[in-house]
């Protein structure tokens, strides 16, 4: 035998020897191995969005000024193009291809009443408006009924000479109705944050020069306001069902002689049934009026008064609606719950956006103070909520605390892995059904919730959410989360994280994503932070059609990360 034959024989014997060791254990290991590979291949999912789309989320301008960073814009609003100015409302009968109007608040309600206009299975569908009281008591308000209230309240305030209407109410249908009434009857709405100390209320009334207040008894210091704010001419009480029988129109002796007091219920119920069924016509309507809001920063500091034009708000609504991918847009099948105060423009703008998208909207006045999402979502099964970071943090702590067993922790790890590594929102499956018991109770029907909006408020000491916490919450709630950066002078938000961005980083506070399509941001040098060719860092400036005064400094330092998202320094 030659040399080659020897090698071949050796090889033959070695292989035979090796596989001669095949026994029961080998078979077992082999089966598990094959099973694992088969599972990995079968269960493989494409990421929700292309990973490289998340790797560079904003566009930098090619030229920058000395002492400034380049201007950053959303990928969807390239440089040289106008930013998103409005909703592109198409009047009935207008050409399909014509560019629509930017619209104003009146168009939001008209759209809510008219229902879905696009052809398709849901054409003509409208949303519902609900109020949640306690756990069981869910009241639905027919849209026609709300239209009637808008007309009657608007006409009433106008007849009494109202011009600047302060709204001091918790999240409620009446708040939205008054806002629309102001829009339709050419009055300026002033939305005050609810549940404030007496002197803060008086100060806000004074600064906004309000002549009319719509409020609820028990929370509004009527006597003190009348004494300290003589310009008040008109007051409308929104009375609970329970205390309807009392005579609210009676003004206590010696106080408020000049103030015209009425109740919401009287205005609505005492009018003829047929009155106020139709909204004022589009033709010949006046220019939309401003909306004034008060931005609350830290407790104890004065609220910042900001006047938003109608155009600011429309631009913000359009941009926030656009930030959700087309296939996931709000629609008639959604139930939207603002679990944050409607006095925040972020919440208000999203709520108006939900109405415009013909989603159902639920109002729950407990929501805001409780900072507890489980309480806020009792009795209904929302699909989209706006929540405060504090409430989300509380949910995270409570649910995270229940993940104690080994199995639970591993399941959570698997879910998180799917999110952060594969970029896939975990879907219901065999494994996740066991995981369901660790999910926080958000809504009466689990699994309905699909999207959570939340926002950092600059200077307001909102607790910051790290990207790990956000990722945990995505896994636990089974919903996507969009984390926005909001500022006093900007309607809606400045920047917002991408709908499909589930990445987790080692950070204290998550990044805030790229600018919306209605804003562009730029960082200016400060004493501490300088812009260089390699790094954009400095005080955040924002420009765009949704910014009151079209440009604002945010008084906070930011940095543009490698993926062109904005983060705090």
């Amino acid at each position: 035998m030659g040399f080659f034959d020897n090698i071949m024989l050796g090889l033959d014997e070695a292989i035979t020897g090796l596989f001669g060791q095949w026994n029961l254990y080998t078979s077992a290991i082999f089966t598990i191995f094959a099973g694992f590979l088969a599972y990995q291949i079968a269960a493989r999912q494409d990421p929700d969005t292309h990973p490289l789309l998340l790797a560079r989320q904003a566009q930098a301008s090619p030229v920058r000024h000395e002492g400034e960073s380049p201007v950053y814009r959303s990928q969807a609003a390239p440089h040289g193009m106008p930013l998103n100015t409005g909703l592109s409302v198409k009047d009935p009968g207008a050409s399909k291809w014509a560019r629509g109007r930017d619209g104003d608040l009146r168009d939001v309600w008209r759209q809510a009443v008219a229902g879905v206009q696009e052809d398709g299975p849901s054409k003509g569908a409208t949303g519902r408006i609900l109020t949640v009281l306690g756990t069981e008591n869910v009241t639905e308000y027919p849209l026609d009924d709300i239209t009637r209230q808008i007309n009657l309240i608007g006409q009433h305030i106008l007849d009494q000479g109202g011009n600047r209407v302060a709204i001091y109410l918790p999240n409620s249908v009446e708040l939205i109705v008054t806002l629309f009434a102001c829009a339709f009857y050419n009055m300026t709405a002033v939305i005050l944050p609810f549940d404030q100390p007496d002197d803060a209320v008086i100060s806000m009334l004074r600064r906004s020069a309000a002549d009319t207040v719509v409020t609820a008894p028990g929370s509004f210091p009527f006597d003190i306001v009348v004494k300290n704010y003589p310009s008040l001419r008109q007051l409308i009480w929104v009375v609970d069902e329970g205390s309807k029988h009392m005579d609210w129109n009676e003004v206590p002796q010696g106080t408020g002689g000049s103030v015209n007091v009425s109740t919401w219920q009287d205005i609505v119920n005492d009018s003829p049934v047929d009155a106020g069924k139709d909204l004022p016509p589009i033709e010949g309507q006046k220019e939309p009026r401003d909306v004034t809001i008060f931005w609350q920063s830290k407790p104890g500091t004065a609220e910042e008064m900001v006047r938003f034009t109608s155009a600011n708000i429309m631009s913000a609504i359009a941009a926030l609606l656009f930030s959700v991918p087309t296939s996931q847009r709000m629609g008639p099948s959604d139930l939207f719950l603002p679990a944050d105060s409607l006095a925040n423009t972020h919440t208000l703008v999203l709520t108006l956006g939900a109405l415009y998208s013909n989603a159902s909207v639920a109002f729950n006045s407990v929501a805001v103070q409780a900072n507890d999402l489980a309480i806020a979502t009792r009795g209904i099964a929302p699909t989209i909520i706006v929540a405060t970071p504090a409430a989300l943090l509380k949910t995270h702590q409570e649910s995270g605390g229940s993940l104690t067993s080994l199995v639970a922790r591993n399941l959570h790890w698997l879910q998180t892995r799917s999110l952060t590594q594969n970029g896939v929102m975990p879907v219901a499956g065999l494994l996740s059904s066991y995981y369901d018991r660790f999910r926080p109770a958000l809504g009466s029907k689990p699994g309905k919730l699909r999207l959570i909006f939340t926002a950092e408020r600059i200077g307001a000491e909102t607790p910051r959410l790290s990207s790990t916490v956000l990722s945990d919450l995505r896994a636990l709630a089974g919903a996507r989360i969009m984390y926005a950066l909001t500022a006093p002078k900007v309607a809606g938000a400045v920047t917002q994280t991408n709908f499909y961005d589930y990445r987790a980083f080692d950070d204290e506070c998550s990044h805030f994503g790229p600018p919306l399509t209605s804003t562009e941001i730029m960082l200016k040098d400060t004493d501490e932070h300088k812009n260089t060719d390699a790094l954009s860092k400095g005080e955040i400036f924002v420009r765009g059609p949704c910014v009151a005064g079209s440009e604002a400094a945010l008084n906070v330092a930011g940095v543009i990360r490698d993926d062109n998202t904005l983060a705090y320094v």
């Binding site: 035979t16 095949w22 026994n23 694992f36 590979l37 490289l52 998340l54």
Partner: protein
């Protein structure tokens, strides 16, 4: 064939001594492969990243003298000024760079030349320290031609600075 038969007989002879232990070399190899595969599936990966973008050009204020070096020679970018705006025309180096038909404009105020449609030296302002060309003596047609050039430049090229006259001491 003969060989195969011989080997089969050989193997059959020692068939009885097959082990039944978990820790045979074959099992260990298979286990090792399994563990490695699981690890490579589970191993955390950094999120996808793109290479860093080109840094943005800093907007500068030029005087005719400081603009002069930006004529495309010695690997410099090609800039030219039109009515006080400095355009980066490096992408059009074949036209505006050294040896191109418009090379005279590189690093200079090209307003008058573009307006008059002439690429000659005398179209350029000679006194670099002097005031900028006001173009006051140009006719309507020439100004229109200049506007056309400016619009085309704004579409195609970046404005990277502005041109001002040198300050008199």
């Amino acid at each position: 064939m003969e060989y195969v038969e011989k080997r089969v007989a050989q193997e059959a002879a020692k068939g009885a001594e097959a082990t039944n232990s978990l820790f045979t070399p074959l099992n260990l190899m298979l286990l090792g492969l399994f563990v490695f595969t699981v690890y490579s599936f589970v191993k955390p990966q950094a999120p996808a990243a793109l290479p860093k973008e080109e840094p943005a050009v800093v907007f500068k204020t030029f005087t005719p003298r400081t603009l002069l070096p930006f004529n495309g020679e010695n690997n410099m970018p090609v800039y030219l000024a039109v009515r006080g705006r400095v355009f980066d025309v490096t992408r059009g180096r074949n036209f505006y760079g050294p040896g191109g038909p418009y090379a005279n404009f590189a690093g200079r105020d090209a307003s008058r030349g573009l307006a008059c449609g002439s690429f000659d030296e005398e179209m350029l302002t000679k006194d670099l320290g002097g005031p900028l060309d006001t173009l006051a003596d140009l006719g309507r047609e020439e100004l229109e031609a200049l506007q056309g050039w400016e619009d085309r430049f704004s579409e195609k090229y970046l404005v990277v600075g502005k041109l001002v006259a040198e300050e008199k001491e």
